[in-house]
Amino acid sequence: MSKQQLDGAQALIKTLDDLGIEYIFGYSGGAAIPIFDALETVKTKMKFILVRHEQGAVHMADGYARATGRPAAVLVTSGPGAGNTVTGLMTAMMDSVPMIVICGQTVTWMLGKDAFQEADIFGITIPVVKHNWLVKDSNALPRVAREAYHVATTGRPGPVLIDVPKDISQGPFSGEMEPEINLPGYNPEKDFDICPEGVKAAAALIANAKRPVILAGQGCMIARADKELMHLATTLDCPVTSTLLGKGVFPENHPLSLGMLGMHGTAYANKAMVECDLLINIGSRFDDRIIGQPSKFCKDAKIIHIDIDPAEAGKMIQPDVMIVGDAKAAIAEINEKIAPAKHPEWNAKLDGYRKKFPLGYKKQGGLRMQQVIDELYNLTNGEAIVSTDVGQHQMWAAQFYKNHESFHWLSSGGAGTMGFGFPAAIGAQFACPDKTVISISGDGGFQMTLFELATAAIHKLPVKIVVLNNHYLGMVRQWQELFYEDRTSGVDLVGNPDFCKLAAAYGIPSVYIKRPADVTKQLEKALAYNDGPILIHAECVKTDNVFPMIPAGAALEDMITEAPKTKMAKPVGST
């Protein structure tokens, strides 16, 4: 091999750099050594971050993407290394998050022969990626990497995986560095052709609506349709609710904002769903935690559904008007066709609900998670990037940390992956070094990926690691209390470590909060520390419940806003 000649791995790394990938999160291993070697031999602008577990790497890439809209790469070895990315891929797939995962693989002539650390990661990951490749030609690596980037970042984004056998990464490269991509079955450019009939029909429904509501999903954020959405809402004097993942695309401190809807959404957002006569869903896939019982969802309302993914049309809810395409392009077209409107009665009615069913919490009888989150919101003026884990704290964070702009809320919605929040916050902090990044986790989820404390400490990332500790898997315990006669089963986290001492073991300082009166002072202290990560251990009341709540599979009008006095039937929906 001449000095100038590249090998497959070098061509791959060079291509990733050319594509503008900024970070590679990863963990090495035998089958990936040639690719790791290329990180040393090829001069790039990319930074490699060594994590402590492959799941951490995938969630970091996820957090990076959710905070920027751009993909990061993940580099892991074959077998267990690749297998450990599956949960993270599934998480990203469910929430349409772009990322490029590259796995080492055994040499091609050993494929299917149970070689050391061999796993059929191509087959394993088919259901959890937008697309994947098993590369069998070194010269194909630049093309595959370019196709992977294109697939991950266009249309409805999603994770992609490239499986690279060791002889392919190690083999000599004599191909083209900038080949044409070849994806005849993939035409995302069509997403910007908005059907004029659909726009006309939507505008007609909008003109006739007396009680319209906009449901803004993550699709608006991905399309960067914030301005168009604001124009639509303010022109129509139309209230806006958002999904969990859409938080921030319409500022939640705006008078027209209803906050989040759904199972633990605000009462006023869910009331608006029940009473509206027109629902304009832009970029939400009508998740089951939003619609409850499909047959009763918005049953008296006309429904406009805008989605980039044709497979979402009619999947859960049959709309009156379906527009398939990019949210920004679609809203811009609709904005051309609408006249300014006023809906004073409708908005006054919703204001009534805001006053009647405000979000609140007690400041007596022990520390509440809500207070910590509420105070974080106040102290950061709602400007921080907030990642959450999954469970009660996630729903309270969604309720009390109002997001003012896009790409500031990182939460595993579709997959509900515990262990997501902390590594996602690390990824976001790498992406946005000058922003305040707050990781809010419960004691359960934090312990699933706490090993990344090392990664945060080594890179002196000023992530604020909030652990809201109630010594329970609180959301499951809440269900058991409400629907299973309070039989707690498998939820008591006896033996939690002292989280402050745990942080200290990694050289990370911490603050401890137990009294409601100490919250502000301690959080101020933690937020002022920017020399590296700091852990905030909040010792919270053990048994508290998230309200409002719509039991899974129930209709939105069956929402409960406080603890029921009588026994409740087991939910018919799944979770």
């Binding site: 088919i126 098993l134 005849p184 079955g185 993939y186 044709p310 497979a311 049309a313 009619g314």
Partner: protein, 176 residues
């Protein structure tokens, strides 16, 4: 690739049966991706024919399925969404021709042979293997015709049958 079935009774593809024609990249794993779309949504694949397209970089799949018709629309959209799928169309008997081939192996002594050959002739079939004690008959046509042939040959002892599964082509100038 052609799949085979040993069941002497043909699957009933009338009523809730549907035929999909899927044009795909000729790439490893495509079949797996498509099968996952079906199995995850509770659709059972009754027949499946895959072969290289006229341009060898593409393949043609004809899939006969049964399942909840309400879910079919969703299946077609999900299949179309796959990166390796160029297009996926549903075909009905009104707008397409469907053909299938069956091989029927029967125990048939010399005494019974002429009657068996009559049945073969009735179905415009061919004898493709003959021994003193057995014969293999090949018949092509639409699925009900093949079902009828199986019933007629049931008066002999059928050792096994192999069906190719349906292939479909749109009528007229429409692409399949």
């Amino acid at each position: 690739m052609i799949t085979t079935t040993d069941t002497p009774v043909a699957p009933n593809l009338g009523g809730s049966g549907h035929t999909l024609s899927i044009f795909v990249n000729n790439a490893p794993g495509v079949l797996m991706r498509i099968c996952q779309v079906f199995s995850r949504r509770g659709f059972n694949i009754d027949s499946l024919v895959v072969s290289q397209g006229r341009d060898p970089s593409f393949s043609r799949m004809t899939i006969g399925i049964t399942g909840d018709p309400a879910g079919l629309d969703q299946i077609i959209k999900q299949v179309n969404k796959l990166i390796d799928v160029i297009h996926c169309f549903e075909h009905t008997s009104n707008n397409s021709v469907t053909k299938e081939m069956i091989l029927i192996k029967i125990l048939c002594s010399t005494d019974d042979r002429s009657a068996a050959l009559q049945i073969t002739e009735h179905f415009s079939g061919k004898t493709v293997d003959l021994t003193p004690s057995s014969m293999v008959v090949m018949i092509t046509g639409d699925s009900p015709k093949l079902d009828a042939a199986v019933i007629m040959f049931s008066q002999y002892e059928i050792i096994e049958t192999v069906r190719t599964g349906k292939v479909v082509m749109a009528r007229g100038e429409q692409p399949t």
